[in-house]
């Protein structure tokens, strides 16, 4: 994976990867719980129908229809869950000592943006809600002077540490650029 990342970001010889960030796993777990609830629905409906209308399961027309509908439902839910996983897994941010790379994944499309650290103007951390406080995840907003004015690291783990480190890296990179590329 490391080799892939190096190749993917076209890593320069002086460049070090400081963070490889993804949304906190709790975000994916929330989706997974919803998925389990949706999976349980047909089983509950089956239980209800078995106890209230058992004749339906003997019917030569309604039973095949219900089976096909249930099959289509399960396949759809399964595919949507797979796409949700891809969306979670392929959405990431890489912070190096020179730049930030934002890889945004949407269904069947992908956007990759880059930001030089010395262009960072401000970094803000936002942690909302009980779960975010409990599991220490939140959103980091990076205000820039570049073409894309704001970079957002959504629901990443330990956002305060990441924000602090980014500010430190931005300061070092800024000094380096102000000195005309001399350390």
């Amino acid at each position: 994976m490391n080799l892939y990342i190096k190749k993917f970001i076209n890593q320069a010889s002086y460049e070090e990867i400081v963070f490889f960030l993804r949304a906190d796993v709790i975000i994916f777990l929330k989706e997974a719980i919803l998925f389990v609830a949706l999976l349980a629905l047909p089983f509950l409906a089956n239980y209800f129908l078995q106890s209230s209308f058992p004749e339906i399961f003997q019917d030569t027309i309604i039973f095949p229809l219900l089976t096909l509908l249930a099959s289509a439902y399960f396949l759809t839910i399964w595919l949507v869950f797979f796409l949700v996983f891809l969306d979670y897994y392929l959405d990431f941010w890489i912070v190096t000592n020179d730049r930030i790379i934002d890889v945004s994944q949407h269904f069947f499309s992908r956007t990759i943006s880059e930001l030089d650290l010395y262009k960072i103007q401000d970094v803000t951390v936002e942690m909302h809600g009980f779960l975010a406080t409990m599991f220490n995840y939140g959103t980091v907003y990076i205000q820039t002077a570049g073409a894309r004015q704001r970079f957002v690291f959504e629901n990443i783990p330990e956002p305060r540490i990441v924000a602090k480190k980014i500010m430190e890296l931005a300061e070092v990179d800024s000094k380096y650029h102000n000195n005309g590329g001399k350390k």
Partner: protein, 80 residues
Amino acid sequence: MSIGIFLIAYYIFLAVFIVFSILAVYHLANFIPPSSMAFFTTYIFLAGVALVLFVSWRELQGVDWTQALSFFSNSYESLY
């Protein structure tokens, strides 16, 4: 009209499902390197699909798809 119409509708759904599945797996293969995670998720996804299709096929064995679609009379007879 026979109840085979349900099966045709299901096959149309399956065709759309297969197209989206291929696109999703292609997307995964294209954007992450061959890794245990990529293989594992693809395997789990395909295993889930196979399981659903197998259970559906097993449940629908013995269904006469040529019988006429007489929805109301049939359900009326069987329910009462």
